[in-house]
Amino acid sequence: MTDAVTFCFLSQAFIGPMQVFGGGLQLAGRVRSGDVAVDLLRPASLQLWSLADDLGRAAYLFLLRSLPPTLLGAALFGIVVPTDPATWAAFAASFVLGVLIGFALRYLTALSCCWIVDDQGVQSLSLVLTLFLSGMILPLNLFPGWFGALARSLPWAAMVQLPADVYLGKRDALEALAFQAGWAAALLALGALVTRAARRKVVVQGG
């Protein structure tokens, strides 16, 4: 029971830094308006540039959107608090990796509007996939059979379910971190490839 309450408060705490509901990045709007041209004038990769912006936002949201409700939840309902420092260290790493994966997925979603005129459809699809497959709506270990196994192997699982599992000590920490790191590396690499393709393919809109 405490585990369930803890999961609730943790998943709430992830909403801000991991941008579970999408948003955060202004990249899609900047591609549509053509302002991305200015971003490409910087001596920095577009993906790292966007990531720096997003990490700053995540840090801010962590302080304002994650800590207060969690502390309040702990005070009012009582949540599981790990005693082992190793668990905390693993959770911190898992949390950061979750933020990275959240960024990478939103970056790819935003870049899609280099090829399609309007990204709202992709954004909505991404929102549904993220909410459902991250464990935000329903913990993934309640998903049945092969579908549950599939959901738990997709990158969205690394956003909410895995950091929570690591916190609650329900998953081998190293295995979970390796899984997250693998997805983070793969998605960021894909982001780099797509950025390159975008610069070859697309029109920078406007004057």
Binding site: D35, L40, R42, A44, R199
Partner: protein
Amino acid sequence: MIEVDRAGRSFTVGRGSARRTVHAVRDLSFTVGAGEFVGYLGPNGAGKSTTIKMLTGILAPTSGRLRVAGLDPTRRRTALARRIGVVFGQRTTLWWDLPLKDSFQLIRHLYKVDRMDFRRRLDELADLLDLGAFMDTPVRQLSLGQRMRGDVTAALLHDPAVLVLDEPTIGLDVVSKVAMRDFLRRLNAERGTTVLLTTHDLGDIEKLCRRVMLIDHGRLGFDGTLDDLRATAPDGESLEEVVARLYTGPPPEAPASP
């Protein structure tokens, strides 16, 4: 400093049976030497901005090759960014919600400009462009003229060898325009910065550019000195009339296919 060799850029637009290829720039060749001040003219949609986007590495060309400050812009975009300064008159590179001086600090870190060099250059630019009064003002509260001066400063803090200006005087009042032109002329004369200037304001061209290039339908229609350009017209015709005639004239001849 700038070498463009048979560069082309085409876009595929539309879909289904309406799908077609638009050649924004085709077979464009020119070179700009160090220290030159070149005006780059052309009607709307002629391919000016596309050229600038290729020169700055924002867009990859679909054919031909370019070199700017010794680098291939597409492959070495971030290295090139440290050697060139770019001002888009219709966009800003400043941070909208931050005071002007904070934007400059961010740029210092971004371009890894040495602190002393930065201080010296910023003092000099702030003096020349008269930025003192609004250094602490958030960019969103600046007038267009102030913002443009801020943008030009931002483009020069890392002391680029080449400055690319895309309509830097658009929307500026007469006084601001004159101040901007004076500044650019001095920059070119005293620091030897190579300048490529795109504008629709022929006053900019007359006051600043020794050389003029004119692009139309994605091809270079004229390349020569300002006097050469005037000489293409009967006496008494204003520069405006000369340019208008070149803009509305037949598209430049396609070079014979190899």
